[in-house]
């Protein structure tokens, strides 16, 4: 194991030195551009439309300066002009500019007059960096092996203990047997146990004990039957397999996307809404691969495959960067199923009361696979209504009713229940 880490380390060192070397060579041509600064500038300004190795809204930019110089004979000044004001270059009748303009659907690149020539140099230095190999696979193997070893040891200890007990029992039995044989051999009269009524018979004959026992059995079975019946139809922990492995952990957790970005109707409607595929494509048009943490179960290839499924649903041709028009709506499996006879309104809880989504849906940002966190039973709803104060601040609707009701109940803050949130008809109609 140590060996593996060591190897990774050496590989990293190798990669690092290689890149430094490359950087040095690259900086020769980029005339002192700083690729580190360039990277942050690239991510801030260019990454929305460009990638280094992949055609997106705009062309791939790896080694753009070199390529332009080699293929088109365009110098760096052309690049400065283009980045500062691409429309101007196109207008001037520049051949290559017009070619690119037409190739990318007649959309001119946004002008960046705020970027100084030095900034552009930095960016170009970044684009001139050599492509790196991701060391992800090795780390994955490493983590896997650690978790495995600890699992085995527990079982081993238990197994050993079990064998020990068995041996002990066997030993005792053998000792007993041998002693008896000795006694027989030496004609020692063994005191026969007096014939007593066996314990179970005595137990049965004791009516009081029987009664207590019966009551106990009845009560306990009633308890279990009740418990069983009460969980019928309660799907807490329901975690179905979805057609696309959508990880809330990556989206809401790692990337910190607001829940209501995708579930936007939660703000205005009774339903939170499952986002339509075009909402996914807002980001996934440019995010075509997964570069975050992975595990053996969920590798980078796996995640990239799932993104492909989104493209298929949306009818997006990633290579051509355009929609084919052949769409396939995604058949998600619904997790939170309220019965038909309950009216629940998301917007009232989210927009009016300001309840966090996590209050009911649990730590969604940590869920790799989403499951139902809350039992969604009426008791659960009511418990919350009993204890939660109504958010009345800056809401003209509540002004009068809150003032009068809080006076009536003699409280500072009203709970949802005091506001009438326990009435049957508020949810059942």
């Amino acid at each position: 194991m140590r060996k593996v880490t060591h190897r990774t380390l050496s590989k990293n060192v190798l990669g690092l030195s290689l890149s430094i070397l490359l950087l040095f060579t690259a900086s020769l041509s980029a005339q002192g551009g700083d690729p580190a600064k360039g990277k942050s500038l690239f991510n801030a300004n260019c990454a929305a439309c460009h990638q280094l190795d992949k055609k997106m809204t705009g062309p791939a930019l790896r080694n753009v300066e070199q390529r332009l110089a080699d293929d088109e004979g365009l110098d760096k000044q052309w690049l400065y002009d283009w980045i500062h004001n691409s429309a101007g270059v196109i207008k001037s009748g520049d051949a290559y500019a017009n070619k690119v303009y037409n190739e990318y659907g007649g959309a001119a690149m946004t002008a960046f007059p705020q970027l100084s020539e030095e900034d552009i140099d930095n960016i170009l230095a970044y684009t001139a960096e050599e492509k790196k190999e991701a060391p992800a696979a090795a780390t994955a193997v490493a983590t896997q092996s650690t978790s495995d070893s600890s699992g085995i040891s527990n079982e081993l200890i238990l197994g050993a203990l079990a064998i020990l007990f068995l041996l002990l029992a066997l030993g005792l039995y053998l000792v007993n047997k041998t002693l008896r044989r000795f006694a027989e051999a030496q004609n020692i009269e063994l005191a026969e146990a007096t014939k007593r009524t066996p314990l179970w018979k005595a137990f049965i004959q004791n009516q009081f004990l029987m009664l207590v026992m019966a009551i106990f059995l009845l009560l306990s079975s009633a308890y279990f039957v009740y418990g069983y019946l009460m969980q019928v139809g309660v799907d807490q922990g329901y975690q179905p397999v979805q057609p696309i492995h959508f990880s809330h952990k990556i989206h809401a957790g790692d990337n910190g996307i607001d829940c209501k970005y995708c579930h936007s109707s939660a703000r205005v409607s009774k339903t939170s809404g499952i986002p339509s595929v075009n909402v996914c494509m807002n980001c996934h048009k440019s995010i075509y691969e997964y570069n975050g943490e992975t595990s053996a179960e969920y590798s980078k290839e796996f995640y990239d495959g799932e993104i492909k499924k989104v493209y298929k649903a949306a009818g997006w041709d990633d290579a051509e960067q355009k929609y084919t028009g052949e769409t396939q709506p995604i058949k998600w499996v619904r997790i939170h199923n309220l019965p038909d006879f309950v009216y629940f309104n998301h917007s009232q809880h989210v927009s009016v009361a300001g309840v966090e989504c996590q209050t009911c849906h649990g730590p969604v940002e940590e869920m790799e696979v989403l499951y139902q966190h809350a039992p969604l039973t009426m008791g659960w709803c009511i418990d919350c209504h009993r204890t939660t104060n109504v958010k009345v601040e800056d809401n003209a609707y509540y002004e009068k009713i809150h003032e009068e009701l809080s006076k009536k109940y003699g409280v500072e803050k009203l709970t949802a229940a005091q506001m009438g949130g326990l009435e049957c008809g508020k949810c059942h109609y």
Partner: protein, 1029 residues
């Protein structure tokens, strides 16, 4: 004054010895659980192979199986859009303004859509005219999800593509054009500027084209009369909010007379303000909605009506007319004339007699009165049919002179009296195309069925009245492969633009005057002053020079007269496959799922016709053979109080046979007798064998001797006497002192403090309510109320959360009878007591009518809540009586204990059950369900929730916006649907609200106040304007 009048719901109650009334008083659930049927028969019980132990085994096994099956939850899929449309947020409703124009109903409405599905029709508050939806328009949304719709074009029963259709029909039309053969477009009244233009273009292209507009229920006489007098083809417009004296001779203007939609204006002056209200006198033969609302109703046969109208004319305009009327009618006509003259420009006369002279007479009277309610400028355009042209067309077809017939929005094989002739002629045509949503009587006989979209899937425009335009816009993508008539016209004329763009062009060019199309589309309506192009029909009849005299001269009767009418629920029969409308009880007869011959008690006795009640309270009636000319129909008979002696009534709209489910094939087709498009026919009626079973809810839930449920008084008493005379609060004795029941001292219960937050009240004004029933259907649509079917309704198991009770009471006071009695002299002769007593009106001959919408009263001290063993029904702080369906175990104690009989029990599973083949058993029909309201299951009690889903929505929206709720924001489905202003809903803790003020009104009372239930629904005492002159 209010409580010593005797009210009754059915003639049966007037019979003192009726056992059935007694039974009904005693039993809440009229049908006993039939335990005797299977337990009483000892032999079968003994011979059965299932022993008690076996039975228990079965029970045990099925319970275990059921609980095992319940453990496994089903996997539910959730499929979001790929690209979500911007305007759709799941869970949030969108509203679109659109217009229904099906040839019979024309209204500007708001359509509520959820997740892209239209689920409810509401009134369009922005509309200047026709902004109120009647019961049929409210129900029309269900027609969109009709499982029997034609799903694509068809040729000879086989499905074809639209391309084939286009190729074949265009080729054929061009052939006909080449041979200069005659092409006829037979359509409903579209009243659409763009369609008129398209038809003109079509005519231009194909040469020998004739457009015939056809109204199934003809208003041709009124159109002809108007055309003769004013030059343009249309109907005079009436604004009853400007009329204080209204005299109607046979016009059911609160029903469908001349297109309907007059009730909102009428109701405005029915509420007494500053001691004044309008006076309404009705001369009619059938008991209509208008007659039921009238202050004075004079039953007259159609012939007598003609004479009465002529005489009214002579009194007001002058001239002499012949003809005799009974003395009391003569007096009534004189009195009406005097009142009209008194009222001057605040008076108005209308008539429903389909006779050019009669219609002319009315126009003349209104001109003489200079009636403000009478408007000849903004002419009603929604009826354009011409009887003569249609008759001519049938003759030409039969003679083989018509090469092509293209029909849209009409069903002549059902609605024509001479349908067989039309069918014969249709076969002779070289090309016949029917644009239809159904394979109905006509389209199934045509060569091509062009599948037409529902109006909620179509574009369109309508000119309701001159200058009052409205737009129709699709609220859902077409469910099926359909195409509307106008799109086809565009195709045939070689125009490539869509109809939507075409409308825009027409509107921008000639209607909008620079106004915004999008604004007009948003509002649904656009009002402008456009130069009126005169439209006239050549086939119009002209009135006689002295219309009144000829009218009177033409009034000759020989025998019984049959007067046709349209029912509030069914109209002309287009929506016969709509279960909501089939189950809608007629406001007057309270019968559902049927049409019938309405006969007066006297005539019924003379003809040997009878109505009987069976043990469960259901109504049976004898059959009668009704003959007009050579056509005979066998029709069930319903004895109708108030029906004029010598007349019978029969409604259109029933007896459809094609394109509707078996359950909806109810009643008989009255159009078969509609000869010459005359709504009055001389008939012979004779009793026939057999007994018909009605599904009539009139005897369900009797008054139980509590007459004070309805309070009414006269305007005179209302103006002159103190409240305690006409709207006294009941008192009880406390320590030998009279204490009003509203006092907390005599209450069994402690009062709960409801002064904080909202406290909802619904106020129902019995004066403004016309009984139109729009609220009943609106409630149906909003609350997913199931349809139970005829046999179940017959068992008193109707599920309507909101019913409109109709009470009859004897004519005014008995003073008239007393005077007559004084005047008797001797036994025989004109003034003889022997004949005189017999003549003395039987109370059912001309009763007064009152409508009373009743839903759950949401009692603050509710008797139902205290008896529920599982606390499934409980009270909210906001005044609503809640019902937790999932908690209910179906003991029905609550229904037994409810003094208002408003609770409804789910005897069966109505949803997804093929035994109830209406709309909830197929996926298409279920699309109309409101997703915010539970679909109840079997064994559960349900009732009006005061639309808690709507009040909650209003509150939740206000909370989210952080604002205070204004008066008028709170609505229930019924109050929102009520265009007459009878129902007002709101928060009485908001002291400035309308409903809080109504609660303090002198007319306010609660139903059965002496019971002490403290309801949250209040009623406003009915005031009748009985003041003559």
């Amino acid at each position: 004054m209010s409580s010593n009048k005797k009210y009754w719901k059915s003639v049966e109650e007037l019979n003192e010895n009726s056992s059935i009334v007694e039974t009904l008083k005693q039993n809440e659930f009229v049908a006993e659980i039939p335990t005797d049927e299977f337990l009483g028969d000892k032999d079968t019980l003994e011979s059965t192979s299932t022993s008690r132990r076996d039975f228990l085994k079965y029970v045990g096994f099925s319970t275990a199986a059921a609980s095992l099956a319940a453990c496994e939850g089903p996997v539910k899929k959730s499929i979001p859009y790929v690209v979500q449309p911007q305007e759709i947020i799941p869970g949030v409703a969108n509203y679109y303004a659109t217009t229904i124009a099906d040839g019979f109903d024309f209204a500007s409405v708001l359509v509520k859509t959820r997740e892209g599905r239209p689920i409810k029709i509401e009134n369009n508050g922005l509309a200047a005219t026709n902004g109120s939806a009647n019961a049929r328009v409210n129900a029309s949304v269900l027609g969109l999800y009709d499982s029997l719709r034609v799903q694509g074009p068809k040729k000879g029963g086989e499905s074809i593509s639209w391309n084939t259709f286009d190729a074949e029909t265009t080729q054929k039309l061009n052939e006909l054009k080449g041979a200069n053969k005659r092409i006829v477009l037979l359509t409903q009244t579209f009243a659409s500027p763009s369609t008129s233009k398209l038809i003109a273009q079509f005519t231009e292209k194909y040469g020998n084209v004739q457009h015939v507009a056809y109204d199934a229920v003809s208003e041709s006489a009124a159109l002809d009369a108007f055309q003769a007098k004013y030059g343009t083809r249309g109907l005079a417009n009436y604004d009853f909010s400007k009329a204080m004296t209204i005299v109607s001779v046979g016009a059911d203007f609160l029903g469908d007379w001349q297109g309907g939609g007059f009730d909102a204006g009428y109701s405005k002056n029915r509420i007494p303000q500053h001691g004044k209200m309008s006076r309404h006198i009705q001369f009619e033969s059938n008991m209509s909605l208008s007659g039921a609302n009238a202050d004075k109703r004079v039953p007259l046969t159609p012939t007598q009506q003609k004479i009465a109208l002529a005489k009214l004319h002579s009194h007001i305009v002058g001239g002499t007319v012949s003809g005799n009327l009974p003395e009391h009618v003569e007096k009534a006509v004189q009195s009406a004339a005097a009142q009209l003259k008194n009222a001057g420009s605040a008076g108005v006369v209308i008539t429903g007699i389909q006779d050019v002279n009669a219609q002319t007479v009315v126009l003349e009277i209104n001109e003489r009165l200079a009636s403000e309610a009478f408007d000849t400028k903004n002419v009603i355009k929604t009826r354009q049919g011409s009887d003569k042209e249609v008759s001519q067309l049938v003759a030409d077809l039969k003679a083989g002179q018509v090469a092509a017939v293209i029909m849209a929005g009409v069903n002549p094989l059902y609605t024509l009296p001479n349908a067989s002739e039309f069918a014969e002629g249709l076969k002779k045509a070289e090309l016949s195309i029917a644009f239809s949503m159904k394979e109905d009587e006509t389209s199934s006989e045509a060569q091509y069925i062009a599948a037409a979209p529902h109006y909620l899937e179509s574009w369109g425009d309508v000119e309701f009245k001159s200058g009052h335009f409205a737009l129709t816009q699709p609220t859902i993508r077409p469910l099926f492969d359909t195409r509307q008539f106008q799109e086809a016209l565009l195709k045939w004329t070689g125009n490539d633009i869509s109809y939507n763009d075409y409308i825009k062009q027409v509107w921008n060019a000639s209607i909008l005057n620079g106004g915004s199309f999008n604004q007009a589309l948003h509002d649904g309506q656009f009002v402008t002053n456009v130069a009126e192009e005169e439209t006239a029909s050549e086939g119009a009849e002209t009135p006689a020079s002295n219309a009144a005299a000829s009218l009177a001269a033409s009034a000759k009767s020989n025998g019984l007269e049959l007067a046709f009418y349209t029912k509030t629920g069914m109209g002309d029969g287009q929506q016969a496959n709509n279960p909501w409308l089939q189950e809608f009880p007629d406001p007057i007869s309270r019968a559902s799922w049927d049409n019938y011959l309405t006969v007066s008690k006297a005539d019924a006795d003379a003809l040997g016709l009878a109505n009987t009640h069976v043990a469960t309270g259901a109504l049976n009636g004898s059959y009668a053979k009704v003959t007009v000319g050579s056509t005979t129909l066998t029709v069930p008979v319903l004895i109708q109080p108030g029906q004029a002696k010598g007349s019978v009534g029969l409604s259109f709209g029933y007896g459809r046979t094609r394109g509707l489910k078996e359950e909806m094939q109810t009643g008989v087709n009255a159009y078969a007798l509609y000869q010459g498009f005359n709504n009055v026919q001389t008939v012979t009626v004779e009793a026939a064998a057999g007994e018909h079973e009605f599904a009539c809810v009139q005897l369900h839930n009797t008054l139980m001797g509590r007459g004070d449920i309805l309070k009414e008084t006269t305007l005179e008493i209302f103006n002159t006497k103190d409240k305690k005379h006409w709207n006294a609060v009941p008192v009880v004795s406390l320590n030998h002192e009279e204490t009003p029941v509203t006092s907390p001292d005599v209450d069994l219960w402690d009062e709960f403090d409801r002064s904080i937050g909202h406290h909802f009240n619904l106020s129902i004004d019995l004066n403004a309510c016309t009984g139109c029933g729009a609220c009943v259907i609106a409630c149906h649509a909003e609350n997913n109320v199931p349809v139970v079917g005829k046999t179940e309704v017959r068992r008193s198991r109707d599920m309507h959360w909101l019913r409109i009770d109709r009470y009859y009471s004897s004519d005014e006071t008995f003073e008239g009878d007393d005077a007559k009695k004084e005047g008797f002299s001797g036994l025989f002769g004109d003034n003889g007591s022997l004949g005189g007593f017999g003549e003395m009106e039987h109370p059912s001959d001309n009763p007064q009518v009152a409508f009373q919408p009743v839903m759950c009263q949401h009692c603050n001290h509710a008797p139902c809540e205290t008896v529920c063993p599982v606390a499934a029904t409980s009270h909210g702080r906001q005044g609503q009586n809640h019902m937790a369906y999932n908690r209910c175990v179906g003991t029905r104690y609550c229904a037994n204990n409810c003094p208002y009989k408003v609770r409804r029990f789910n005897w069966f599973l109505y949803n997804g059950n093929d035994e109830f083949d209406y709309h909830m058993n197929d996926d298409l029909g279920r699309m109309v369900l409101n997703p915010d309201v539970v679909v109840r299951s079997r064994g559960v009690m349900e009732k009006c929730s005061m639309c808690i889903q709507m009040t909650q929505k209003t509150i939740l929206d206000a909370k989210r916006d952080g604002r205070v709720i204004k008066d008028g924001e709170f609505q229930t489905a019924c109050s929102a649907a009520c265009s007459s202003g009878a129902m007002v809903f709101g928060d009485i803790n908001d002291k400035e609200s309308k409903v809080a003020k109504l609660k303090e009104d002198n007319r306010m009372y609660h139903l059965l106040e002496h019971v002490g239930t403290k309801p949250n629904v209040q009623y406003q005492t009915k005031v009748r304007n009985t003041t003559e002159a």
